[in-house]
């Protein structure tokens, strides 16, 4: 276990970012978002980011290949490079750590997504133990322990210090390169903080949300429930919930036809949107009820059915905090699941 005074944490960030890109929650005055940390930026570890850590592996928009013509009018295909440099993602909370495991199942199973896989291979994760969970958090519903999330390095903030516990060889390498900035600490220094976090979790207003009634095997029943109509009637189909969600994984691939050829890119897509999976014959989900139902059925029924019972919600609460009309997965879970609102 190592530690550094919080007052000096910038020197640590400075040292990491000298050799590698450092992705961390950065304060941009009106919101906190993950961004490449640069000298002078303020890293914030006690506030939930609007967007999640998935941006580091699965950015909202990325170019995949380029097509152009040479002098003889032959088509040239440029496959764009995948990530080939190590980078650090710092301050990843328990919910987002679990979310990466959810994304891994999708992007790393055959056929492997090479862009995602390259970023995962080159990333060093510094997880963060939550010290001030918010009222929107309900990660414990999904069996997550926010007091000790697993990264290559675990980070704990206790009073005026940040503590670092190395877990993997990658993490060990990073922390030993920073040795001159870090002091030695005892493993037991963080014990009381962990207990405190677990205590707080039991006091949060959403701590008793249960997934009873959801999961594999209830497809027909849940799909046809009449409550979808009432719930979806509030939804304005904006897609905020899907874009801030750490496990939402849908994307669209498009060609941008510019004067110097064609760039093929992909960008996030959202099942909440009217043009999602548009095909030649039109769209197969034509009402907001169908789109709305898709998002929650995916997280709470289809995912567990295909992934040994694993839900694809991690209880981060971002959609709870950010939906413009305050409709969200907790309201859906409670309305149709075991516990009634």
């Amino acid at each position: 276990m190592k530690k550094i005074a919080l007052a000096k944490i910038d020197s640590l960030l400075e040292a990491i970012s000298k050799d590698m890109n450092l992705f961390a929650p950065v304060d941009n005055k009106s919101t906190v978002n993950y961004a490449e940390w640069k000298s002078g930026d303020v890293a914030v570890f006690d506030k939930m980011t609007v967007r999640s850590a998935k941006d580091a592996f699965f950015p909202q928009c990325e170019n995949m290949s380029k097509f152009s013509r040479d002098q003889d009018n032959k088509i040239i295909i440029d496959k764009l490079e995948t990530c080939d440099k190590d980078f650090v993602v710092m301050g990843v909370r328990g919910c987002d750590i679990k979310a990466i495991a959810v994304l891994d199942k999708v992007f790393l199973s055959e056929p492997v997504d090479t862009f995602y896989a390259a970023r995962r291979d080159h990333s060093i994760l510094i997880s963060l133990s939550c010290s001030k969970p918010e009222e929107t958090c309900f990660c414990t519903t999904f069996g997550i322990d926010p007091a000790q999330p697993k990264g290559d390095v675990e980070m704990y903030i206790v009073s005026d210090y940040a503590y670092f516990n190395t877990v993997t060889a990658k993490g060990e390498k990073l922390i030993s390169s920073l040795n001159n900035l870090l002091e030695n600490a005892k493993d037991s220094d963080i014990d009381s903080a962990k207990v405190a976090t677990r205590d707080i979790m039991c006091k949060l207003p959403l701590h008793d949300v249960t997934t009873d009634g959801w999961g594999a095997g209830v497809l027909e029943e849940m799909f046809n429930r009449p409550e979808w109509e009432q719930l979806s009637s509030s939804c304005i189909g904006c897609g905020t919930c899907t874009y801030v969600c750490p496990t939402c994984q849908c994307y669209d691939i498009r060609d941008y036809n510019g004067s110097n050829g064609v760039t093929r890119y992909r960008c996030w897509d959202s099942c909440m949107k009217s043009d999602f999976t548009m095909m030649a014959h039109g769209n197969n989900r034509t009402t907001q009820l169908q789109r709305f139902r898709q998002r929650f059925m995916h997280k709470l029924v289809y995912s567990p059915a295909n992934n040994d019972g694993e839900f694809s919600c991690v209880g981060c609460g971002r959609c709870v905090a950010k939906c413009p009309v305050s409709m969200n997965i907790v309201k859906v879970i409670k309305t149709m699941g075991g516990e009634k609102l």
């Binding site: 009222e135 874009y243 959202s270 413009p324």
Partner: protein, 327 residues
């Protein structure tokens, strides 16, 4: 507020029971004090959850656009500011007035939970407001904030407690907050150099995630298929491919709602990245006031706005450009 909520519930129950309306569009109680959800109540039993508290900022008028082809009749709860949007929707034939029963409800300003959280307050378990103060209980302790500091942006510049259209009123005696100068920030932006202004907007808009919440919540954005969602338009976009594009989306949207935007504040209220989008629209409102005389979209139903109403004394476009935008 609780007395008012009770009155609204009672009236809603009467309306449903008598069959005068088939549904009531209102707000449904959430899990915290600050998250009521717009909802349609069709059964009296559901009315227990109807709520009207300090966090009912959402403008419900747009929910009627989707009901235009319905043969059912809906009552809708509208705050004073929301009634301007309703008039504008009627003007544009985007709602069916004969199937709408408007209940104008009193308002003393709504709160913005983002502003509460920006003070470092989290773990909120209860919120209660008096005339000028708001008490917030959290699992980490209690705080007391001045109500003025945490009002929704639109309520800071409220146009007053007059409902410009209604079928009946409940609680209209409530006093809306004293407004600040609505154009102060626009004037500040106008006073900047072009470079400073560009930097300001780049800083704000670069956070945009193109969720389109601003557009989808906007009561003036009622195109059946938005040009940005239409694969055949050639400019469909699901993400901002560049910083240029994110500006295009917002500027095109602002132009499209110019003189139709009632300045209801929904765009900025719903933005998950807290981008002050209303400032773009408010710039057009200010320009229109200066070029054509004071104009408020939606204050009268069926009026023609200055941009579609040619008059002999209209300002010449060349005058505007010669003077760098000054009349």
């Amino acid at each position: 507020m609780q007395g008012l909520e009770k009155k609204i519930k009672d009236r809603a129950s009467e309306l449903l029971q008598s069959g005068a309306v088939d549904g009531i569009i209102g707000w449904e109680k959430g899990q915290f004090e600050y998250d009521p959800t717009p909802a349609v109540f069709t059964k009296e039993t559901g009315l227990d959850n109807l709520c009207y508290n300090n966090f009912c900022g959402a403008n419900l008028s747009k929910y009627l656009v989707g009901k235009i082809t319905s043969d059912k009749k809906f009552a809708v709860l509208l705050k004073p500011c929301d009634t301007y949007s309703m008039n504008q929707l009627i003007t544009e034939h985007r709602v069916n007035r004969s199937n709408i029963y408007i209940i104008g409800i009193g308002c003393n300003g709504h709160l913005n939970v983002e502003k509460i959280k920006a003070q470092g307050i989290s773990g909120i378990t209860a919120v209660s407001a008096s005339d000028d103060h708001v008490n917030i209980s959290t699992i980490y302790g209690d705080s007391k904030l001045a109500k003025k500091e945490i009002l929704l942006g639109k309520c800071e510049v409220c146009r007053g407690n007059v409902h410009v259209i209604f079928d009946e009123l409940i609680g209209e005696e409530l006093q809306t907050p004293k407004p600040d100068d609505r154009f102060e920030m626009v004037a500040k932006l106008e006073a900047m150099t072009a470079e400073e202004r560009f930097k300001f907007w780049q800083g704000e808009l670069s956070r945009c995630i193109r969720c389109n919440a601003c557009r989808n919540a906007c009561p003036a954005c009622t195109c059946r298929v938005c040009v940005f969602d239409n694969g055949r338009s050639g400019i469909e976009a699901k993400a901002n491919a560049s910083e240029f594009e994110e500006q295009m989306f917002h500027i095109i949207r602002a132009f499209h709602v110019a003189a139709r935007c009632t300045d209801c504040g929904e765009c900025s209220r719903v933005c998950p990245e807290n981008i002050p989008l209303h400032l773009l629209n408010r710039k057009y409102v200010k320009d229109i006031n200066e070029f054509y005389g004071d104009y408020q979209a939606g204050d009268i139903a069926e009026q023609r706005n200055p941009l579609v109403n040619f008059g002999d004394d209209d300002i010449e476009p060349t005058t505007v450009s010669d003077k760098g935008g000054q009349k």
